[in-house]
């Protein structure tokens, strides 16, 4: 979490290979105490020391919110990414000590709903695992529609079906199965809330279909963590701290600010929460806005930047930091 919130020292107690792309990790507190309580949909930010590069990646908590003895996350290896997931797969072993943030929930359930309809794509299943455990314990009504590339990559599918029965609907792209979204959304009882987590294309498709069918915006929830994109190195002046820093190709602007010893706020590190928003004092060039937070007008205005995911191309960028 951001400035001021103490990190939790943890020990890795389990590393399980779920399939060829996904590993599951379990963390318990180093001091043997209870983890902070969380609600389904929350994430934690895991700190990694990757050969001198400090990485902080957000992962949804997938364990039962009723279980305070530890946290579990699932990490999908992304071989084209900046290396955080590869580090988790390659280096993290049982017994290793790590630091994680207290939980933050940007994808909470709306418990006023009469029914919860969840749509997951691939690794987007993880927040729903915690949410379903929470809803099941409450006796609330829910239904999951979960699509994966094939049977091998459909993480946790058999377990979910065994536990929740016909409330779980599975779809395999490789077998030509697809969610009949229009029929599914049109048939939901009034008072249903819709949740979607998965690849960008899937989220866009679900949000658009729901809006076209007249679903109110307040009943539709989505979460997509953006990984900071790799790009061309650039230089930034930090006006308040009087420093000029260079952001490396595989580094995010936020990471470069932190590496220079300057404290900067953040929560999600994925362009979703708004916490890292920073004022731009001068900009001679073009900001590559990669976030979901700023409005299109703000993006055009060159007065704000989200350092967790956005980059810059040009002669000069001065930030109020």
């Amino acid at each position: 979490m951001s400035v001021g919130a103490a990190k939790i020292p943890v020990v890795v107690t389990e590393v399980v290979e779920v399939n060829s792309l996904i590993k599951r990790f379990r963390f318990v507190r180093e001091d043997g105490g209870q983890m902070p309580g969380f609600s389904g949909g929350a994430h934690t930010v895991v700190e990694m020391d990757d050969a001198g590069t400090r990485r902080l990646n957000p992962y949804s908590l997938m364990s039962d919110p009723g279980d305070r003895s530890g946290y579990e996350i699932s990490v999908r290896r992304d071989d084209t990414g900046r290396g955080g997931s590869a580090y988790m797969h390659r280096e993290v072993r049982p017994g290793m000590k790590m630091l994680i943030s207290p939980p933050v929930n940007l994808f909470g359930l709306d418990l006023r709903a009469k029914k919860h309809l969840m749509i997951a794509g691939g690794i987007g299943i993880t927040p729903f695992l915690a949410q379903m455990a929470q809803l099941d314990a409450m006796g609330a009504r829910f239904e999951l529609h979960y699509a994966a590339r094939d049977r091998e990559l459909g993480a946790y599918m058999p377990e979910l079906s065994a536990r929740y029965g016909d409330r779980v609907h599975r779809y395999y792209d490789a077998e030509g199965q697809a969610i009949d979204l229009t029929t599914l959304l049109a048939g939901q009882p009034l008072g249903t809330h819709l949740y979607v987590c998965g690849p960008k294309g899937m989220i866009g498709w679900v949000l658009k279909t729901a809006a076209d069918l007249g679903w109110p915006a307040g009943a539709v929830h989505s979460e997509e963590f953006l990984a900071p994109p790799v790009g061309v190195p650039f230089t930034v002046e930090l006006a308040a701290s009087g420093k000029t820093i260079t952001v490396g190709a595989a580094q995010s602007l936020l990471e470069a600010i932190e590496a220079a010893g300057v404290d900067a706020p953040y929560l999600c590190r994925g362009g979703a929460c708004g916490q890292c928003e920073t004022h731009v004092i001068a900009c001679e060039g073009e900001i590559e806005h990669n976030d979901h937070w700023l409005t299109d007008d703000q993006k055009a205005g060159c007065r704000h930047i989200m350092p967790c995911v956005s980059r810059f191309k040009g002669a000069k960028l001065v930030l109020e930091r």
Partner: protein, 202 residues
């Protein structure tokens, strides 16, 4: 933006908009009094929605009755009711049987809009999913914070609680759950020292 200017107020005070046709599988439209004119304007914008519309009209407590015009609008289903209380169970049933995609519109007095919003929220819709447009009287539905009794069609401030008889000052403090403004005893410290009632909510 609302066509009625309510003046500056606190955050809790509801704000209203202008009814706009939205895509949807069906439309529940509830209006009272002068709200009938907003329904006419809505249908004029999107005549194709009429067939899928269920219109419920309640003549205004101030005597405004547009029911002849409402009956002739051509809504797929039309009901006229003397009061909100008398038609509430029907509205709750329509909401309970409804599916996502059902659009809810409420227009007329604040009391009417607030009660439609409350019942939609109880059916699980987000409060801002209900479209509203204020028309006609500013009369308020007020809860006495002392006896919890609700007085309908309050036009003056202060007024006498119709349940417990206390003199109540009408606040802008509003409860979405109760669909009512809050009325607080005005002469608690000096019984009998009550400012003259002004007609503030005509």
């Amino acid at each position: 933006m609302s066509k009625t200017d309510f003046g500056p107020s606190i955050k809790s005070r509801p704000v209203y908009g202008v009814l706009t046709p939205r895509p949807g599988s069906s439309h529940l439209i509830v209006a009272d009094g002068e709200g009938g004119a907003a329904v006419e304007a809505l249908f004029a914008q999107a005549p194709e929605m009429k067939a899928k519309a269920h219109l419920i009209y309640i003549p205004g407590a101030n005597g405004t009755d547009m029911s002849t015009a409402m009956a002739a609008l051509g809504a797929g289903q039309y009901n006229r009711a003397p009061t909100y209380a008398s038609v509430r169970s029907r509205i709750v049933k329509v909401l309970g049987d409804g599916h996502m995609g059902l659009q809810v519109y409420a227009t007329g007095t604040e009391s009417l809009m607030g009660q439609v919003q409350r019942d939609a929220m109880e059916a699980g819709l987000p409060h801002d999913a209900v479209q509203t447009e204020h028309r006609g009287s500013l009369a308020r539905r007020v809860q006495c914070v002392h006896c919890k009794g609700i007085t309908e069609n309050v036009t003056t401030d202060p007024f006498v609680c119709s349940h417990c008889g206390l003199n109540l000052f009408v606040r802008d403090h509003y409860s979405r759950r109760l669909a009512a403004f809050q009325g607080v005893n005005i002469d608690a410290e000096d019984p009998g020292e009550v400012p003259p009632a002004e007609e503030r909510f005509k």
